[in-house]
Symmetry: C2
Subunit: 307 residues, 2 copies
């Protein structure tokens, strides 16, 4: 089924212990759509500037991604610079130039109105809500957010959370959003805000999905997918968005949402996140095969499987 | 089969967000032996002071633990005070009074000379090595260490690591010992120092076991056991030692060491660690049943199991 992502496209300048790259294609919508493209047909709504060239769009088109929702605006594309020199788990931001992203107003092309699955990447909560309300055929909405919106626009975020079926955030964001430092308690408080399911991303330790009572008719037992210990993390940028792309892409490919599908989606999220960090930027996500993806799925499965 | 632990017995004063306790029975050997006592027959070698009363020893004896190796010395028992007010994952030490532990020289009673499985809890590496060399029937040795020995007595520790079959330490200690911030690479470097297997404890995220090439004849694929998200962590003290007790206790109960047994042992380690943190001190470990333990083992198993 069709999967639409609304979010940022960016040019990133990144330093890690493995090296440095300048102005490479990045952004949440880019990582998400590439990761999801191995599972289902993907559509993107985003804004770029005059510096976004055909070769950049080609990276998405090569993966069959529908780019008709990428709006060209006057000015430069969103640019971000960061480094992971001391800690591969947390970026230190060097600069953020919002550029055309500052006034981003998502426009949904008419051809995207029949979208089945929606992912609201990390943008202003009021824009996330507006997109959701504009689409009338959506069966399941996934969403992301960040500390900035949790702290500065809590009321707007609360409204958006009522429209999100599955929220995907990390441990710190979960505890901040709930105002509770105990993860399972924090998860229950977040679920009480609206989402039927909460996926908490633990970085190198994998992710846990928590369910609200009655959600999807599958009980409230949490489920955890491990992550593969990776020998060489070249660039952690986009790992969380790639996780979301694998998770939502697999859900959209199945149509029916049940406990087993959600569990497998969590594993596929981890798989795509683990591929993303093996190369700088989106390089590893551009030329995977479904065989490589399913091979790593089996490795992840064996990693915690008792006979 | 018999399992001997050599390590500390202590009186702890602990503050957590759930409350405060003073001078309660603790120490690595105490947590370890209680956790292991649900799986096999356990022996303790440790030193205590004149303040160690029959009621303290009774806590171990009640669980069938052989306390004939607990030496009484003149003076006070080792005392530790710490708090977890800001962070449940890391203790802030308020005071350490080594007392009789400062001059601890482990004496192995003659009745313990036929010991099959040995665990060297976190004490001075030269003492760990001496104990191992004194026991001639040991089939498998587990060991622990800490940042203090890694930084201050690296040569002594290197000699001890050659005598340890399975080393159990946390992420930070693994990276410090290897001088490498990437976990799988650090694990390989630690395994090259001697141990056939390395168990890296990830706290609330579980643990991973890495194998040296050819170890136990089972290949080098790592295995990860998740931990249960716990609603109320009352007191994290002793979680790692309880993990080690569950792990080593299960191994000793099986006798034959193969991949499946090691995997299950890793799950049982996580189970015992998760029980330990639910109450202050060793309270929860004193009155469990094997049924409760196996019930939680199943919950852990379901937590990551795909159909």
């Amino acid at each position: 089924m069709s999967l639409l992502v609304v979010g940022s496209v960016a040019f990133d300048t990144i330093s890690t212990p493995s090296g440095r790259v300048e102005n490479i294609l990045g952004g949440a919508a880019t990582y998400f759509s590439l990761a999801a493209s191995y599972f289902t047909s993907v559509r993107v709504v985003a804004v770029v500037g005059e510096d976004f060239m055909p070769e950049h769009e080609q990276i998405m088109k090569h993966r069959g991604i529908d780019t008709r929702g990428i709006e060209r605006a006057q000015g430069k594309t969103f640019r971000w610079g960061g480094q992971y020199l001391d800690n591969l788990n947390e970026a230190k931001t060097d600069f953020t130039e919002l550029n055309v992203f500052e006034t981003f107003q998502p426009h949904i092309p008419r051809e995207f109105e029949d979208t089945d699955f929606l992912f609201l990447a990390n943008i202003q909560p009021t824009l996330q809500a507006a997109v959701r309300l504009e689409l009338h055929h959506v069966r399941l909405t996934g969403g992301d957010t960040m500390n900035f919106w949790i702290q500065n626009t809590p009321k707007d975020l609360a409204e958006t959370l009522k429209l999100v079926n599955v929220l995907l955030i990390n441990d710190t964001e979960t505890k901040m959003l709930a105002g509770d430092r105990n993860l399972p308690r924090a998860a229950r408080k977040v679920l009480a805000m609206g989402p039927q399911a909460l996926v908490v991303k633990h970085g190198e330790y994998g992710a846990t999905i928590f369910f609200r009572e009655g959600a999807f008719g599958i009980g409230t037992h949490p489920f955890r997918a491990p992550a593969l210990p990776i020998d060489e993390v070249k660039d952690p940028t986009g790992a969380g968005d790639s996780f979301a792309g694998g998770f939502m892409g697999y859900l959209a490919s199945q149509g029916d949402i049940n406990r087993e599908v959600l569990k497998r989606a969590l594993f596929y999220g981890g798989v795509m996140g683990s591929f993303a960090v093996e190369r700088f930027g989106t390089e590893r996500l551009q030329n995977l095969t479904r065989g490589e993806i399913d091979g790593r799925f089996q490795v992840f499965r064996e990693l915690t499987r008792l006979d």
